[in-house]
Subunit: 258 residues, 2 copies
DNA sequence: GCAAAGGAGGCAACTAATCGACACCTCGGC
DNA sequence: GCCGAGGTGTCGATTAGTTGCCTCCTTTGC
């Protein structure tokens, strides 16, 4: 629960929320079809005036990379709109095993699982990069829903989208082997962050093996072994903080869609 | 997609939706805390007049046990309100592996993943018991949301609840072993459907081993073996169509919460 | 410059879980 | 009565994935 002080010296990049850019909403173990079909971001449904109104109602908060925004088991009230940055939402089981539900980007909201306060967080949120969020309490949310109809619609679509993401994640975890899931994730990363590089695709991700493991629901070691195996097969090459995919087709075959 | 003809002779029990009963909303691999904390059913938020209005807008459909309500890959439009009965929502991977997302009871809605039409079903729905559903198209939904505010709130809460269910399922599948998941499910079944019986709890479920396997994301054989193992340990006794739990505490230990 | 921390990578032992196959049992229909 | 379908019990082979531990390499901070 250590959030960074607001008087900090270095301030993250300015609000893309008001600018209205539309990057991918989230990153998780799922075909990106579900993501590209996502609804417009919550804020894009609003007029400039409405946006200002919403932002005015909330309390701005800066969260530095690695700091917790909210923690599993603590009481919650309302949601956090992500103004800039990226929040990783994850769950830790009693056994210590951890699963990343998703990385949510600017324009979406995190918190929950309830909208209107009461209850405890059943997962945690940590800043994956320096981020700025706007906290809207349950009480404020109720008022905004009544006052700004477009905000209500945006919330409904956001919730529908989250439902899609989580059910897709459950589908993956319930029916695919770890190997298939890793292939899946690599394809997704290549599609989303890949840069073409003379026949190959370079994923310049900042993800560690442990990060990848948490996304596919496996151990760090297994990811290391699998990546090594793929490297031996000539499918890809893992360099530090960079994965170069040579044979995307092979990954598709591993995933089961030829 | 074989729905039963409306002129069928045997008609399922009459609508508990209008009666306003409140059974568990759903059955799935999750601690029942998430379920008991669920919001009031969609219809309980409405006045009798509003209920009638909603029911009038939709098209009633009878689905017999084992018949598909909707199928993965087919285009969809709107949602199905469950008036009576129980619908199993499941996903089949290309490999043939199947995972049950949830059994939804009367009072909830299924379909999706989108509310307002467009797109394809990414999962299937089959009647677990003879059921009556009301189909509301995307167009109708939009109109109802605008006309009946309580309906909009009910939808939001329903969506939030589904999000909770699916994320909890992902948490389970991502961090627990099959054994732990089975223990979890058994505890949940005992809590929900269990009948006290001289120190033991009898679960008179109609679930086959395959049904249980689909819920925990495992194979039928593994469930058979695990149940046998538990029986040898004296934790429970599996009779046909009935499981008697002697040592609930042991299941809690297996699950990891002492 | 050094020390500490965290990540990458490797490896051996182990077990949880799958896969495929088959035999059996029970129930309902003809 | 026989037959077929669907559910259960079991076996052996195989693999997928975990656990625990250890080394090396970077990065960062002092």
């Amino acid at each position: 629960m250590q959030t960074a002080p607001l008087h900090a010296k270095t301030v993250p990049a300015a609000s893309p929320l008001l600018a209205g850019s539309n990057p991918a909403q989230a990153l998780l173990l799922t075909e990106n079809a579900a993501l590209t079909n996502g609804p417009p971001l919550l804020f894009q449904r609003l007029t400039a005036k409405e946006r200002e109104e919403v932002l005015r109602e909330g309390q701005k908060r800066v969260v530095y990379r690695g700091k917790m925004l909210f923690s599993q088991g603590t009481p919650h009230d309302g949601i956090f709109l992500i103004e800039s940055g990226r929040i990783r939402v994850f769950y830790i089981a009693p056994s210590g095993r951890e699963i990343t539900l998703a990385y949510w980007n600017a324009g979406n909201f995190v918190g929950g699982p309830e909208l209107f306060g009461q209850g405890q967080h059943v997962w945690s949120g940590v800043a994956a990069t320096n981020s700025v969020v706007v906290h809207l309490t349950g009480k404020t949310l109720r008022r905004l829903i009544a006052q700004v109809p477009a905000f209500a619609i945006g919330l409904i679509e956001g919730l529908t989208f989250k439902g899609k993401c989580y059910s897709a994640l459950a589908q993956m975890l319930g029916t695919r082997s770890v190997t298939e899931r890793l292939a899946h994730l690599l394809i997704h990363l290549a599609d989303t962050y890949g840069v073409k590089e003379e026949g190959a695709i370079a994923i310049g991700s900042a993800f560690t093996h442990a990060d990848l493991a948490h996304m596919v629901g496996a151990t760090r070691q297994w990811v290391t072994i699998s990546l090594k195996r793929l490297q031996e097969q000539g499918v890809l090459k893992a360099e530090k903080a960079k994965i170069v995919v040579y044979d995307l087709e092979a990954l598709h075959v591993m995933r089961g869609d030829r």
